[in-house]
């Protein structure tokens, strides 16, 4: 049996998975604060008796693209975008601290400030809660000021501050819920230099042109693998024919 067939088969399967990653990026081209996933192929030689002639290509995470998306002005007070690098701290559904760039915030009925996905936004000392208010303003450093219901604008008072962090990108990894966390499970330190702009949302950083080119490239690579599977098949057929002729 020609084992080259299996190398090509592995290649085709892994390329299809890479295509899935690329399609996931394209599907999230309008997701606020989304960070594109990258995929790379690593070679994995197969060791065994005889020469190590076969090397499988295996698709692997190549991390996340941390470049900034485009800033879109929305005019809504509770839409915030992080300037430059940095993240908003939220509580993931598993209760751990996680980080996101999606700043489309809302106030729930009990006064908790959450993201659109319902994750509570964190301050240095826990989830952020605000009293019933006429207006809510988010300052550059994440300070939340509210005018409580029934008070004049003079009654504006800073209530708390959103925890903004800026850990090194190499320490961050995306969890299965799409939120970023530190690889070692620690909490990141508050970084006072991170600033936000209110009334603006950051778009997804998926590059449409690049994703399409990736898509075409992966398609062609896939074709190569299939072609090579086809060739293995033909070799096999040819060998079989010769053997049957010889007998």
């Amino acid at each position: 049996m020609d084992r080259g067939l299996y190398v090509a088969m592995t290649g085709a399967k892994q390329i299809m998975q890479a295509q899935a990653v690329n399609n996931h990026n394209i599907a999230n081209i309008n997701t606020v604060g989304f960070r594109a996933d990258a995929v790379s192929f690593v070679s994995q030689p197969i060791y065994g008796p005889g020469y190590a002639t076969r090397v499988n290509a295996v698709a692997s995470d190549a991390g996340t693209d941390f470049s900034s998306g485009v800033m879109q002005s929305t005019g809504r007070d509770l839409d915030i975008a992080v300037n430059g690098s940095g993240y908003i701290a939220v509580m993931g559904s598993d209760g751990t601290e996680a980080y996101t760039r999606a700043g489309d915030l809302r106030v729930s009925v009990d006064g908790a400030v959450t993201t659109a996905g319902g994750q509570p936004v964190l301050t240095e000392s826990g989830p952020l809660n605000i009293p019933p208010a006429t207006t809510v303003t988010v300052g550059n450093d994440g300070t939340i000021s509210v005018v409580p219901l029934g008070l004049n604008p003079i009654g504006i008072s800073p209530t708390d501050r959103i925890k903004l962090v800026n850990p090194p990108q190499r320490d961050l990894q995306k969890g299965s819920d799409g939120l970023l966390r530190l690889k070692d499970g620690r909490k990141a330190e508050t970084d006072p230099t991170v600033t936000v702009t209110s009334g603006v949302l950051e778009s997804s950083n998926v590059n449409a042109a690049q994703s399409l080119i990736n898509m075409i490239e992966l398609q062609r690579l896939y074709d190569f693998q299939v072609k090579s599977m086809n060739s293995s098949d033909q070799n096999e057929q040819m060998a079989e024919q010769m053997m049957s002729n010889a007998s």
Binding site: A27, N28, N30, R106, V109
Partner: protein, 261 residues
């Protein structure tokens, strides 16, 4: 099933919903008191295909893992409760709330609904009703022979009778919610209370943070048509790209079946 196909399919679905929301906003660009909606996209869960750091053999580990995202979904529609612009109509029963708050309306089943649309009219009994004929709460009835009706900034309704006598005949009350985004739209320019909105706090206009009432003007829709058109272009292109992703994945599979059969 093929994840690449399904991932792209979720993208098509989400863009399709987004387009429906944009269309609804544009269709309501002239609806009094309409609040524009927008879709909140969120990435779907990630599948961990190969755990980073798992043992590749007894003595070695995978130095890299593989996680596959599974697409996108629209997790919520958010209403933008920013004040719409004001249009002057000079109609005495056109009321506008400037600031927070909602008019309270009694639905035919007796329950309460809320609206920012203050284009009131009279029914055959002289009751103040919405364009759909639902009475305002607390009910206000304009007596026969009334010469003019004045609604003050605080919602006090006074009428001048045929004899020239001025009397207060009612009071427009406003309701406010902690989380107005959580109100549920039921059509007819009405919203109703939900578990997410909290319970209504009623009060006099101008008091406790409630807005004031302006007679003779209406709040227009707060849909920004330029924004919607730009969103529409973006949505269309994203739809095309997702559709292209499906075609490409399909071609890959087709190539496989035609060449290996």
């Amino acid at each position: 099933m093929n994840l690449a196909l399904w991932s792209a399919k979720t993208g098509l679905d989400a863009q399709n919903t987004q387009m429906a929301i944009i269309s609804n906003n544009l269709a309501n660009a002239n609806t009094t008191g309409y609040k524009s909606q927008r879709a909140a996209f969120q990435d779907l869960m990630y599948q961990n295909v190969r755990q980073v750091g798992a043992q590749s053999t007894q003595n070695t580990q995978y130095s890299t893992g593989l996680t596959l995202g599974t697409g996108v979904r629209i997790v919520a529609t958010e209403a933008n409760y920013a004040q719409g612009s004001s249009t002057t109509t000079s109609n005495p029963l056109d009321l506008q709330i400037s600031g927070r708050g909602f008019f309270q309306i009694t639905l035919p089943d007796g329950s309460l609904a809320y609206t920012r649309d203050g284009s009131f009219t009279l029914d055959n009994q002289g009751n103040v009703v919405t364009a759909s004929g639902y009475p305002i709460q607390p009910a206000i009835t304009i007596p026969v022979g009334t010469q003019s009706v004045t609604v003050g900034n605080d919602g006090a309704v006074t009428a001048v009778s045929a004899s020239g006598k001025t009397t207060q005949i009612g009071q427009v009350q406003l309701a406010d919610f902690i989380n107005e985004q959580g109100l549920q739209n039921i059509g007819n320019n009405l919203v109703i209370e939900s578990a997410a909105s909290g319970s209504p706090q009623t009060g006099t206009a101008g008091a406790n943070g409630l807005g004031t009432i302006q007679q003779g003007s209406l709040e227009t829709s707060n849909v920004n048509t330029v924004t919607e058109l730009v969103n529409m272009i973006e949505c269309q292109r994203a739809y095309e790209m997702n559709s292209k992703a499906i075609t490409t994945t399909d071609q890959m599979l087709e190539y496989l079946t035609t060449n290996l059969s």
